[in-house]
Symmetry: C2
Subunit: 356 residues, 2 copies
């Protein structure tokens, strides 16, 4: 397809997913109105926190589904919207765990409720408590309804059961990854590179790549070997994505990524990049700077230089390419239809293209 | 039935529900073992926090189901177990919101993880954070799997969809009630009696009485009017139960209730009992004692005396009886089969019998 056609397809898919989510939230707000305006507002805040997304997971569902010949775009939109809502639930609760009130520069659910309470004169402590409480409730509603949207996709029972199992796998893995991440945050030592890869794969890659691709294939009625290969592809490219994302968190352009390149360093985020650096002799130079809450821009620049000179950046980039190539190798398998290969190659290229 | 027969039936039902939950947790732990021992332990803690329950909600499912002629006890056990897991999810997350680490004298999920972290030398703050984080994750797993257990009940698709809608109603109402409760906790003034009743109904009564009874009736293939009347009965008796529960939180015997009769007073819990007392002229005598964190037993005794002399206790008892009688009136409706009436009368009697 031409670039303009690709864009049109992408916009059409997104519009369809947005339509499902619009209807879902309209119904929920209408239903909530019987319980009072406060409850309607909770749903509005949840909607705001869902609508802002890149619709990344629905795109994975659609990509697999349409490349495998699926034509019921409405069903795909429901399944895509279900994964989008699962994503909302997981990040809302992740922010509760991390005590974050901002996501990508905008107040999240906790932040919205905290800010409202502050504006009404609540103490900082009471306002934060209100924010976190609302986020626990909102995340529960999103999680439960992720499941409900699959129910409403109108697919037959056999397909529905398979789809729900895939979503179950997504949550099961993500919870395991969140638990490992929680243990990391209480460790004194830096975790090893492979432990970080496992954590990132479980916490994010499985539900963002592996499961939505599988779901799209199942919905299209693909054979078991195609579904399995897509899961493998998703796992590999998902890990590559996480490594690249962490690289961009330090070396990216804020205009492109929408997040600062100093936040991860100040937080001391445990990434492949940093874990590798701890094994180099240059580590002593930057050790005190990683996780320094008031890290200055010139100090951050020094860290970046050392991450380059120590070889940490090259290592992480190389590892991302390694996983990217493993993903591409799966696409080359003979049972993968050409159309699917052509659809997924750009996905892998886009992930790896973000590195440079 | 004779008392001994009733006991045998109750034990058989409980054993069947416990069997479903045993299998569910065994499978989950087995599956978790691929992700490491830490994850298996999270599931063990979640199981411990589920197993301790009174199986109250499964009993409601079975009561309606069997009285309406249902014979597939395994299906009823799955649906009952689903409501039990929903209950676990809601209390685990409620404890996150309330920053509680103990429930009924035993460490809850947050408490188990906090205590382990403390034993390993973590600071109080870090240990509490670990506890709360684990509870967010564990509650998510319980919530999602509540839904999954309905899927696994083996019922036909039409029934399954109805059951899932009822569970959806349960979560939808409970989240609304939790939100109102959260607003209460940041209020300076005492909420009105009817606002407290609404909060307690939504937060607890709907998912504990109304929905499990409806689910049992739907599972039994009951007519719509029977399902609707059971929902009404459950709503009324559920409100009565909450009022009685709050009365027992101040006037109960610890040996019977398993909770102290000073905790609610120290916490300043907003109940019908206390809300009514604020409207009496005796309130000035006890105002400073309600919500006093270090309330002494002799002060608590003074509060109890005033709650009696002011008429607050009688009012709350009268209100509980009023809702109890409204519940019984629903059972008297002509379309309610005798067997169901005979099963539910003792439920209402048991609720009201706890007052005196």
């Amino acid at each position: 397809m031409e670039g303009s056609d690709l864009l049109a397809v992408a916009q059409q898919r997104q519009a369809q997913v947005d339509g499902v989510l619009d209807r879902f939230f309209s119904l929920a707000k209408n239903r909530a109105s019987a319980f009072g305006q406060e409850y309607v507002e909770l749903w509005e805040v949840l909607e705001t926190n869902t609508v802002g997304g890149k619709r990344f997971r629905p795109r994975m569902v659609f990509t697999a589904y349409q490349a495998l010949g699926g034509e019921d775009l409405e069903a795909a939109a429901y399944v895509g919207a279900a994964f989008e809502l699962l994503h909302t639930a997981l990040i809302v609760h992740d922010d509760v765990i991390d005590h974050d009130f901002i996501r990508r520069g905008i107040p999240n659910v906790s932040g919205s409720y905290r800010d409202r309470a502050l504006a009404k004169g609540a103490s900082e402590r009471a306002a934060e408590h209100k924010g976190v409480s609302a986020a626990v409730i909102a995340g529960d509603l999103a999680l439960f309804n992720a499941y409900r949207l699959i129910d409403r996709s109108g697919v037959n029972d056999v397909t529905r059961i398979r789809l729900v199992e895939v979503m179950d796998d997504a949550l099961f893995a993500s919870a395991a990854g969140e638990l490992i991440d929680m243990d990391f945050s209480h460790l004194v030592d830096m975790p090893r590179v492979d432990d970080i890869l496992t954590m990132e794969r479980l916490k994010t890659a499985v539900y963002s790549f592996e499961c939505p691709l599988q779901a799209g294939a199942i919905l299209a009625g693909a054979s078991e070997d195609v579904v399995a290969t897509l899961a493998d592809f998703g796992r590999e490219i998902g890990v590559a994505y996480q490594i690249v994302d962490d690289l961009l968190g330090v070396f990216g352009k804020e205009a492109d990524t929408g997040k600062t390149t100093i936040g991860d360093l100040r937080e001391g985020k445990r990434t492949v990049l940093i874990s590798y650096a701890t094994s180099t002799r240059e580590w002593a130079e930057i050790e005190v700077l990683i996780g320094k809450p008031d890290l200055a821009e010139d100090e951050a620049e020094r860290v970046r230089e050392v991450l380059i000179s120590s070889g940490a950046r090259s290592f992480a980039e190389g590892l991302a390419r390694y996983y990217g190539n493993r993903a591409l190798a799966r696409l080359a398998e003979p049972h993968i239809p050409l159309a699917l290969r052509l659809e997924l190659h750009p996905v892998a290229d886009a992930v790896l293209g973000r590195v440079k």
